[in-house]
């Protein structure tokens, strides 16, 4: 066990790319909340469908290659995942794959969201917000 050189453990350039791209996607969301009358639910749907459309057209793939988790973790990444899964589904099992592929690809995220949401509901109690 020697000293770990932390500076070389991380690929700092990809971390920076990830942070900037993820941050820009979040800034777009914040601007939509502040400057438009769109409800958060509508913004969520807009992000997911935008991600799905860009994913389906193959454009979002460039962003994923460039920024990794910075592009896949935000809501648009979920849409991208759905589209990618649907396309792969069609390749593997024909037309039915268009319906099953998307959910298959996103199933890890969906199941985790339900599971951890349930856990959080069991152990915590909602409180008044501070502002």
């Amino acid at each position: 066990m020697g000293d770990i050189n932390w500076a070389s453990v991380f690929d700092w350039t990809s971390l920076l790319k990830c942070f900037v791209v993820g941050g820009i996607i979040c800034i777009i969301g914040q601007i939509l909340i502040d400057k438009t009358k769109l409800t958060p639910a509508r913004i969520l749907v807009i992000f997911v469908t935008t991600g799905a459309i860009l994913g389906g057209l193959g454009i979002y793939q460039y962003l994923v290659d460039f920024a990794g988790a910075g592009a896949t973790v935000p809501l648009t990444g979920f849409g991208y995942n759905l589209a990618k899964g649907a396309i792969e589904g069609v390749r593997q099992s024909g037309l039915i794959g268009a319906f099953t592929g998307g959910i298959k690809a996103a199933s890890g995220g969906i199941a985790a969201a339900i599971f951890f949401g349930y856990l959080a509901a069991l152990i915590s109690k909602p409180k008044m917000k501070k502002q």
Binding site: I33, D34, K37, P40, P126, K127, M128, K129, Q131
Partner: protein
């Protein structure tokens, strides 16, 4: 009791506001009016399992408090008017089910407290020796009902108001030494087509101006007649709009006009955006702060105009506009 002008009622024997009580939540307790409230809570649950139960407890305890402060018994109260913001007014229905007093549930959104006092005053001119008014609201239960559940963690826009957690209650007596309810001007429903549930101030301001102008025309009074003209929760956004509307109608209310939603919170320290709102806002500010100002003769003539936004979450989702209402009550010593 007689009607004058278009919609104002003058009382022959003005009823007295015998006693008031108020209980508020933790955020209101940090505000500038803290010392005027009878009781402040340390947390928003008050030992209950849900916010709705907490709100019922708040209105129940406020009513118990006003009755014990006034020195009269439950049996002597001839009628009770109470309301809140939750569906089918469950806070007041559940909170007051053990009071054993004839009960009318009323709903006028945030205008409910003045609506209750107006109805009580009318009853005092006929059968009622003592009548009880109470309203409540709770930030958490109101957010859940009208906007989004708190669990969702949504951000609030700058024009949004903060629903007051608290309850105010008053006992109106046929006889007494004042402060007297000398006149009421029940308002009309006014809808200017505002659709944003996060901008209630703008939705209710036209209703406020309509009632205020009508009150002046009906009574022949001018803004100077009153030491204070107080609106029930238009907030900062609504206050600016109202001053402009009134100026365009030829009334200058800048010097003696203020708003319950502005009074109850400290804008700089508390970050409540456009100020307070809710059935409990006008109720606690009146029962706590304004009533004591009347008793100490710091305010001798008060015009309290509570405003309400008459919508629900279904109407908002279906894209309906928000009708507003404002009821005025003139209180003098």
């Amino acid at each position: 009791m007689k009607k004058i002008g278009k919609q104002t009622i003058l009382f022959d024997n003005p009823p007295t506001i015998l006693e008031c009580a108020s209980i508020v939540g933790p955020k209101e307790a940090e505000g500038p009016l803290c010392k005027y409230f009878d009781q402040t809570l340390e947390d928003e649950f008050w030992g209950e399992k849900s916010w709705e139960k907490a709100e019922s407890k708040i209105i129940k305890e406020t009513v118990n408090l006003v009755i014990s402060k006034s020195g009269i018994s439950n049996q002597e109260i001839d009628i009770c008017f109470a309301g809140d913001l939750l569906n089918q007014c469950i806070s007041s229905n559940f909170g007051l089910r053990d009071t054993n007093v004839p009960f009318f549930g009323v709903f006028g959104a945030c205008s409910t407290f003045v609506e209750s006092m107006s109805l009580s005053a009318i009853c005092s001119e006929s059968f009622a020796n003592y009548s009880l008014c109470a309203t409540s609201s709770h930030f958490c239960s109101a957010e859940k009902q009208f906007r989004f559940p708190l669990e969702l963690g949504n951000q609030r826009p700058q024009s949004a108001q903060w629903t007051v957690t608290g309850s105010g209650s008053a006992i109106i007596s046929k006889t007494g030494q004042g402060p007297y309810i000398t006149a009421i001007t029940p308002g009309k429903i006014v809808d200017m087509g505002i659709k944003d549930a996060n901008n209630m101030g703008a939705a209710m301001a036209p209703a406020f101006a309509d009632t205020l102008v009508t009150h002046f025309l009906d009574t022949g009074r001018t803004p100077n007649y009153y030491d204070a003209i107080i609106s029930g929760d238009l907030g900062y956004v609504g206050k600016d709009i109202v001053i402009d509307i009134m100026a365009s109608q030829g009334y200058n209310i800048k010097s003696n006009y203020n708003d319950c939603g502005i009074l109850i919170f400290d804008k700089n320290k508390q970050d409540t955006h456009s100020g307070g709102s809710g059935c409990g806002c006008a109720a606690t500010v009146f029962s706590g702060y304004l009533y004591k100002q009347l008793q100490e003769k710091k305010i001798k003539r008060l015009l309290l105009i509570a405003t309400g936004a008459l919508m629900n979450s279904t109407s908002s989702h279906q894209g309906e506009s928000i009708p507003g209402i404002a009821h005025a009550i003139s209180i003098e010593i």
